[in-house]
């Protein structure tokens, strides 16, 4: 034999090609009778043994107060901590001296979904969401502006808490 083949010494009952093949055929046939584990995705988004984790970090959502204004106070912490540099924030100030974002845009293409913006936010305004259906017809639509971020309705992520690692 041209190729040097290392052959393991195995007990006699384990070394038959024919018996092994028949055993394999029996095994695959037993799988034929088992129920399939496929989730029919567009119709079904969760099964008995699989749902999206509540810690899933998806596209962002900006929470609003009772008047429907965003909770953001334009402190500038989120663009500061963002490792992907995907948040654009231009702060403004009204007559009472309250700061609010003039421009707040998140480029979801640049975002790495680390969730730091949610962790750092002192007002609990910006959140990453439990959401994954983000298809758009144009690239430009992936830059979410403030209005769009406020209009999102999907649930927000419960980030991992080091003091409560199991999420209880």
């Amino acid at each position: 034999m041209a190729i040097t083949v290392k052959v393991m010494k195995r007990p006699e009952h384990e070394v038959s090609y024919l018996r092994a093949t028949l055993k394999g055929l029996a095994l695959t046939f037993s799988h034929l009778l088992r129920p399939s584990v496929t989730m029919q995705y567009p119709e079904q988004t969760a099964t008995d043994d699989w749902t999206l984790s509540p810690r899933w970090r998806g596209t962002h959502r900006m929470l609003t107060d009772e008047q429907g204004r965003s909770k953001c106070v334009a402190c500038g912490l989120c663009p500061q901590i963002c490792p992907a540099n995907c948040i654009k924030l231009v702060p403004g100030e009204d007559e009472q001296g309250n700061r609010y974002p003039l421009i707040y845009e998140i480029d979801e293409f640049r975002c790495v979904f680390c969730g730091y913006c949610q962790e750092v936010c002192p007002e609990e305004a910006i959140h990453v969401g439990v959401h994954y259906e983000n298809a758009e017809y144009e690239r430009g639509r992936f830059v979410y502006d403030l209005e769009r971020l406020c209009a999102q309705t999907h649930p927000v992520s419960t980030l991992w808490d080091p003091s409560d690692p199991k999420g209880q």
């Binding site: 190729i3 083949v5 038959s16 024919l18 093949t21 394999g24 095994l27 399939s36 584990v37």
Partner: protein, 410 residues
């Protein structure tokens, strides 16, 4: 031959060709569907289930997609051979079915039809496209042409992966052609003639050749896996090593031609196993299906229909075995394939010919008539032979290295 008989022959042949071609094409679509859904079920998945009920139209959709895709030809490819290769594969695969009988014969007819006029067919209408006197020799010859399609495809692509696939295909298919033919020598010894119709008649008279020539069936079955280029011997297109093997450079309908040819080969080889070793269209334990067809009655047509159903059922069963094995057994290494072909299958088949020839000679001398006892006597010869082979095919005895090492240890 009178003009009426000629017209009858032409009419019957063209109808048979049209029907068989259409049925094979639909069968290919169905068997690809079975392969995809079956493999999915074997892996606890669902498989394609969106296009049409149960995903039945998925392959039609894929075929349409292939028709509309761009044809890519490598710049350095040989244009004539590159285009010819898929055709050769396809035609060779299609031709094989011409000699396979698929039902009990229809009765003779003598009718006047509109447009065609008076047509006559003397004797029963054999349900086979071409009742060639050379029988399965034709199959051996044409199935060898199929390898040219693969080799030329790989060579003309001017791509190293395609070329390697073609080299493997040529080496592998030539070495498995020999055990394939050798295992059929035993069938020839028993039946005494090569046309498949005669082989079926002999099996109806005695027993199915799976009993009379069990080892022959095993050898033939293994060799057809290599001949149809299917797992565990699909080395010509080993995805892990050779991208896609001989059809790496093929796209759109040219690729689909190879695909259809592969599955046509699968159906034909299943039909051949059914015909050669499992009685073809014979219905077991009955004799009413073997009577001469004399008149056009409901009984005759029912008989033809039932035998055809049995033939399709057997063919489908072996096609399923091919699929089942494909999704069970992993691919062999190339030296293992060659080892199995030349050092195991070939000596076994040669030895088997000698043993069976002696057995047939002894039975002839004893003056045994060709009935079921004849088949059972041969089966009694086969059982120890099969047991011996199964015992001898242990891995330890198979691989040279293990033997040498155990000898060194003792």
């Amino acid at each position: 031959m009178t003009p009426e008989e000629l017209k009858g022959l032409l009419l019957v042949s063209s109808i048979k060709i049209g029907v068989v071609f259409a049925v094979i094409m639909i069968g290919v679509i169905m068997i690809i569907w079975v392969e995809r859904r079956g493999s999915a079920l074997l892996q606890d998945r669902l498989g394609p289930n969106r296009v049409g009920p149960l995903g039945l139209l998925q392959n039609v959709a894929d075929g349409l997609k292939n028709f509309t895709k761009e044809e890519v030809m490598p710049l350095q490819a040989d244009p004539v051979i590159f285009v010819m290769a898929p055709m050769m594969s396809f035609v060779a695969a299609m031709l094989l079915f011409a000699v396979v009988p698929f039902a009990a014969p229809l009765p003779p007819f003598d009718v006047t039809l509109p447009l065609i006029g008076h047509v006559v067919h003397e004797g029963p209408v054999a349900m086979v496209i071409a009742n060639l006197p050379v029988g399965f020799l034709f199959i051996l010859a044409v199935s060898s042409i199929a390898v040219y399609g693969i080799v030329l495809a790989g060579w003309s692509s001017n791509s190293k992966y395609a070329f390697l696939g073609a080299l493997r295909a040529s080496a592998q298919m030539i070495s498995y052609e020999i055990p394939l033919a050798m295992s059929l020598v035993v069938v020839l010894l028993l039946a005494g003639n090569v046309p498949l119709g005669d082989i079926i008649a002999f099996q109806q008279q005695t027993t199915w050749f799976v009993f009379a020539a069990t080892l022959s069936w095993l050898l033939f079955h293994v060799a057809t896996f290599a001949e149809t280029n299917r797992m565990p011997f699909d080395l010509a297109e080993a995805e892990a090593e050779l991208v896609a093997g001989f059809h790496t450079e093929y796209s759109s309908m040219k690729f689909a031609m190879f695909f259809i040819a592969e599955y046509t080969g699968l159906i034909t080889m299943s039909a051949l196993i059914a015909t050669l070793f499992f009685g073809g269209w014979d219905i077991p334990f009955t004799t009413w299906d073997e009577q001469e067809a004399t008149n056009w009655s409901f009984g005759t047509l029912f008989r033809v229909g039932m035998t055809n159903l049995f033939f399709i059922g057997k063919t489908f069963f072996f096609a399923w075995v091919y699929i089942w094995v494909r999704w069970t057994v992993p691919r062999f290494r190339f030296d293992q394939v060659m080892h199995l072909g030349w050092k195991i299958l070939l000596p076994i088949s040669l030895g088997y010919i000698v043993v069976m020839a002696s057995a047939v000679l002894v039975l002839e001398r004893l003056g045994m008539v060709h009935d079921w006892k004849y088949g059972m006597a041969l089966f009694a010869v086969n059982v120890p032979l099969v047991a011996l082979c199964v015992f001898g095919l242990d891995r330890d005895r198979l691989l040279l290295g293990a033997r040498l090492r155990s000898q060194a240890e003792t």
